[in-house]
Amino acid sequence: MKRSRAVSLGILGAAAFGLAACQQEEQTEAAAFPDEQSCVAAAAQGGWFTREDCAATFAEAQAVHAETAPRYESRELCEEEHGAGACGGDAVAGNSGGGSIFMPLLAGYLIGQALGGGRAMAQPVVSKAGGGFATPTGGTQLSRLNSTGKMGSTAFAKGPTTAGQPPMSRAAVASRGGFGGSAASRSVGS
């Protein structure tokens, strides 16, 4: 027999990798605020969220920030990523951690309309060196706060827990995007 006895038929774009590319994600209404008061002021103008939503999502964003914000082994490294004055000591580890761990301060938060109703979704944002804001994983970036619009619902997916983990256990990344610039066309295979 000159053919394979069995072949993985594959569901392209879904299953071979832990991470799938090409996923279509659902869009949801979202808004970004620097603090709870700004959210409450916006809620007073009418819209899809209430002042109660503002309070609940702000509390949740604070908790998620404490749990998932990136941790760094030095203030310098943290400030390189998040800007001067944007970092503090690890609030969770406190003084009991022994070592010194630094993390970006909470710069604001995202509130999102739950798909299919239910409680509003929350996600903290931190500032980026050079301007702008990002969710703790860096997966969603914002140019400014006090803004509203449509956003992919994955922006509200909680990032991996970093609290209690060694700071920057993954490789510290100096730069990105140095491959792909020379492709003559979108599809490069032959």
Binding site: M1, K2, R3, S4, R5, V7, S8, L9, G10, I11, L12, G13, A14, A16, F17, G18, L19, A20, A21, C22, R170, A171, A172, V173, A174, S175, R176, G177, G178, F179, G180, G181, S182, A183, A184, S185, R186, S187, V188, G189, S190
Partner: protein, 393 residues
Amino acid sequence: MDRITLPERQEWRAKAAELGFTFADMHGEPYWDETSAYSFTLEEVEGRIEDPCTELHAMCREAVGTVLADEALMERMGLPRLRWEFIRDSWEAGEPEVYGRFDLAYDGKGPAKLLEYNADTPTSLYESASFQWLWYEDQLAARVLPEGSDQFNRLHEALVERFAEIFPANTDLHFAAMAGAPEDYATVETMAWAAREAGMGAHYTDLEKIGISEEGQFTDADDRVIGTLFKLYPWEDLFADEFSAHLVGAQCRFIEPPWKALLSNKAILPVLWQMFPGHPNLLPSFFADDTKGLADAAHLMLAGHVTKPIFSREGASVTITAQGRVLERAENREYDRHPMIVQGYSPLPVMGGMRPVIGAWVVGETCVGMGVREDRALITQDLSRFKPHFIEG
């Protein structure tokens, strides 16, 4: 070799959609087309495709050694001198190849002729290894094809065996393609399935999201260090990218290895012809500025000649000339600035109004399967159709 009209599987479009084969139709035209299929005899597959392609790959390996030892030939490859040592090191270290695809002109009568070797970034792996295989099994079960028939398609199993052979169990492998190109992603994912089945850890990252760590190692979109990278991205483009300066120090193993840059390069075709003149599976080939070589070989090119850039994808910048007249000129000219080679013209057969090209897959050092693409035009381009094949019982 024959082109035979066969009933389509009624449910194939639904099946393709369910499996995520999203580009079964492309540019508003069918890409996967099973209204007919190509049939071959077993003797034909083994004697005209399989054994010659295994031999061609061995000849190509020999040519790599020859080119690396000859500075004038290295110049012909159009690759930056700064990266020559990196290429040579990968060859001398014996870094193993995984896969490649020979494109052949074959008319069922004479020997198959090598048009080019997609040795670095061949695509259509999913269609060849998986969807074509499923077509055969379905048609066999439906008795459209008889018991005793077969298909030349050990591609998936051979890839699984190859990964198991060249990597220790549980090695973490990264797979990268450019974002937003579903055909490329399908090839990468098919490769990753095989790696998983071989017991490897397979991780995907968009090529553009690769980063460089402070230690100079490549990292994926999640900042994980990349130890081995399968990149569906041509070496000559990688060498021109900003990160190419980090290639040497990155402690990263690549699939395909850097020396494949010499084989996916059409400058290898004149080298092969110099080394193996008159070989039945080679077409006479010369560098375009080799006027003496071309003049001496005029009697070998009476059917015409084809001008091709040393780097090109999907027929871009190819021109076919016969009796002093341009027969066909690819509209896409984006590779015109590259050095050219001239190859004897071997017209593709015309079957059912279409011109088939055989894609013969090499895994490791052995030819293990094939796929057929056909096009109305003389130059097989990105509107070609993928056709299933079978071996007669």
